[in-house]
Each structure stands twice: as C-alpha cells, then as structure tokens.
C-alpha cells in the first residue's frame, strides 16, 4: 500500500484537473511515494476507538436568517474575470 504507481499519479492529476508531462509524472510518483511511505507510520498507532477530529472548536451548525442583502454588483463580480460578455462570465464551449 505504501507506493503510488505512475498510473495512479496520472489518475489523481486528472481528478484534480492538472495536466502533467511524462517527466513530471515520474517526478511526482517518486515524491508522492516517499511522502505516502512516510505517512504509513501513522499505522503504528491503534486508533480503533479514537474519534476523528475534523475541527478543534466545538461548533454546531452556525445559522443565520435567509435574508437578501446588498453585497457585490454584477459589474464588480465580473471585474477580475479573464473573459466576459453581456454581463456574464464567458468560457470556451462546453459541448464538443
């Protein structure tokens, strides 16, 4: 289990929407394998009866009233966009 294969690295890159070259795939396979191998030391610990900690604060759901309020305008929202048209974000075609 300690190793991650080059195919798995390519699969994970694809899931994360990252394009990597063959050379990069080799490099990341080596590096991620050694990091994952290092992480295997956690298996020395018996955690069967330990609750996981997702968050240190004892927070329950933080609710607020569902009320509309002024925030940013459409023009502001589009201000930093790489491409826009007619008040919308513009992206390349989605369907082939």
């Amino acid at each position: 289990m300690a190793d991650i294969s080059k195919d798995e690295v390519k699969h994970v890159a694809n899931l994360a929407r990252l394009a990597i070259t063959e050379e990069e795939a080799d490099m990341f396979t080596d590096q991620l394998s050694s990091i994952i191998e290092y992480a295997e030391q956690l298996n020395e610990l018996d955690t069967e009866h330990i609750e996981p900690t997702t968050h240190v604060l004892d927070l329950k759901n933080v609710m607020r009233k569902d009320e509309p309020k002024e925030w940013i305008s459409r023009d502001e929202a589009l201000k930093n966009a790489p491409d826009k048209q007619d008040g919308y974000f513009r992206v390349p075609s989605i369907l082939e």
């Binding site: 994360a16 994952i36 992480a39 240190v56 930093n80 966009a81 974000f89």
Partner: protein
Amino acid sequence: MSLFDHSIKQLEGMLHKKEISAEDLVDASYNRIHEVDDQVKAFLTLDEEQARSQAKQLDAAPDENAQLFAIPAGIKDNIVTKGLRTTCGSQFLKNFDDPLYNATVVEKLNTEKTVTVGKLNMDEFAMGSSTENTSYTPTRNPWNTDYVPGGSSGGSAASVAAGEVLFSLGSDTGGSIRQPASFCGVVGMKPTYGRVSRFGLVAFASSLDQIGPITRSVEDNARILEIISGHDKMDSTSADVDVPSYTDKLTGDVKGMKIAVPKEYLAEGVAPEVKEAVMSALKVYESLGAEWEEVSLPHSKYAVAAYYLLASSEASANLARFDGVRYGVRSDKADNMMDMFTYSRSEGFGDEVKRRIMLGTFALSSGYYDAYYKKAQKVRTLIKNDFDNILKDYDVVIGPTAPTPAFKVGEKIDDPLTMYANDILTIPVNLAGVPGISVPCGFSEEGLPIGLQIIGNAFAEGTVYRAAHAYEQATDHHTKRPQLGGAKS
C-alpha cells in the same frame, strides 16, 4: 536609530505630541524599503502613492482615539486588500489587481488608521517553509542574505526584521508565522484557532489556518492581536469569545508559573545550539521565579505525517476554486472548457502546490479515504489530547520554534520531506488549535537568530504573552538588529 526601534506606544505618544508626523513614519518605511528591499525582496507589491497621500490626510486630521494611528504595516499577500493586488505568491493570481473587499483583519486595522505599505512575499498559497516556493523572487534572510527567511510568511518576518515596517500580518497553518519569526529574530504569534477572523484570508487548510501579527516586541504584538481578534459574522468558525486586553497581561511577573518542557522538543534532530539557547531561556525563567518540568507529548512524532495528509486534503478542495473563470489567469491553449480548467491550473500553479493538491486528492479518493484522511484525523485527536492533558497541569509549554536556525537558500528545496521536517515543532500546535508564539532567544555561531516557542491553552493568549514578555524584558536578544549585506551584527 530608526523610528521603528520605538514601540507602537512610544510612537503614538510622539505623534500626539507632534514630535513626529504620519508622513515621517511613512517616509521611514519607504526610505528603508528603497534602501534594502533589493536585497531582502520582502515585498511583492507596494502601494506608495496611496500610502503617502493617506499620510498627508492623517496629518491633517489627527485622531488620538485611533489605536494604531499612522503606523506602517505590511500585509501577507494571501490576505485580500480592496483594490490592491493580491497574488498569494502565485502566477495564477498575478493579474488579481482589483480585489473587491478587504479581509476583516484589514478592515480592523483601517479602523485604527494604520497605513498599508504593501503586500508581502510568501510561499505560493502558503505552502512552504522557506519562501523559495514563491513564484516571484524569493525573499532572503535580513541577518544573512545567503539564508532563507523561513516560510511561508517569509516576507512578513523579513520586512519587520529589516525595519521596513513596524509590524506585519502573516498566516500560520503549520508554523508559517512562528518559524519565519524564529529565523528572522522577531516576535510571531499564531493565535488560538477561531481567535481571529479568516474572512478574506485565501484558504489553504481551513481547519488549521490562522492570521497573526509579526512584530519586534511582545508588547507591540499583544497590541496588534487585541485589535484584530474577535468574532466576525463573516467567518462562522471565528469564536464568540470575549477579547481581553492582552497588553494588560504584560506584568513582567511569572513567579510560580508552571512550565512544561516536552522531551520530544529537545530530542534528536534539534541542533545542539538550539537546545542550548532553550536551556538558557529556562534558566532565565527559573531566575524569575517560574518552575519548569520535563513532560512528554508522546504523539509529537506523528504530527508531520498527519498534518500533510489533512492540510493537503483541505487544500485540494480549497484550491478547486482556481479554474480560470472568475479571476486569475486563463490559459489560451484550450478550446473547450475542461481543457481550459486543466491548462489554466497547470500553467498557474507551481510544483509544490501541484504536489499537495495531488496528495490531498489521493488521500480523499475512493478506497484511500479511511486509510489516510480519516486515520490522520484520528491521530489529530491523539495529538490534541496530548496538549489538553499537559495544559491541565501547566500554564505554558516551552520548547524551540524550529529544530535549527535558518538554512541556506537552495539547501532543502529539492526534497519535500526534508523541508517538511522543519515544521515538526510548530505543526502539533496547529493540529491542537492552541496558541503559540516565537520570541528571539539567542543566536547561532553563524549569527543567525534562534526562536523560543511558548504554547498555551486555547484562548489563553494573555498567559502566553505574559510569559513571552517577562522573558524578553529579562534578556536583550530582541534589541539586536541585522546588518544587511551578510555581515554579522
């Protein structure tokens, strides 16, 4: 002597008595930046025109109620500043010139009338321990520019050490305020998780990230934290806990204070000169009437592994927002939307960011989630329990901030695991969610600063500051200044 050798309190007094002006302070900041930042490279973006005109306005309308009136500040570049470029040290955001709002911490500083001088360099998206992972020019250590300033808030620590600003804000996910503060000989505080609003902090690992101040003195640090702390309705994870006056806690009295010293923090891997500096700090505490005992935080050695799984998992989700649609760069190579996401991200992110996104995606992926992500969360519980148990019986935990003084530029950048090991003494504090500060406690043979880490109970920043301040007042490490250009001081 620089104006920035004074405390904020002294400068405020001088301003009110008209001995100095807001323009003098802003001049002092930019003069120093123009003098040394070619060597230090602490800043990514300067806001000189705006800062100078703000200084003129402040001089025209003095306000004695503003607690940080005309104090020049630097802001880490992952904290959004309205209308001022915010890059996170990444090429992906090199054109993010016009953020729409201020982070809550920036709003709070503005209310007290600080002057934002510019934005500070960092490892890309706060992923790194040396500021070499910036996708701009790496920051250098003001004590010796052959060495790294630490990271990821390297620009924040170096700018204060070099006397370019009076204080800065950094962010700390696994040590990113304390370790650079240690390497640069300044004071850096990571508050309790939830103490300071994260609204407007570009998220890296949301369950660990905290913003905190970097200063030259403990008093200034306490002053900044009491201003930026508090509940914020824009951050549902900010804690609804009263903010006491931290400066009131700086009594100099630590008589009877109980200090725990974890044996794991002085174990193999910690440089002998770092151990010596910490041991002599403990002698100072003894002479001040505090008591210390060796204790154990038995799960410390597992913290780095748990942290990299958890922080990377959270990062892989948080960084999904960088898709080339709403802000940042977009690749021009793609002719469909999926390729546009993929190419924009691949061109915009550096290797360390890609590595952590892939590690996190892997740890969260089907078939591996229980073995890695959930396992790491359970180990986090064990690490938190270690601190809870010790801090029941002791006021503070003390050890080194980092196992070594600053290392040379280029020395560790090719080996991720060696780089990660730098954070072995700071990471457990983030996992436990408790506050920790780094204060200067000596110098290595090569003249590089060494930092003492003081850790306290959740929301007991006041006790941490009291311990840090008493030590600082009994020693003179914090009065030393770097001679820029690589010479020893």
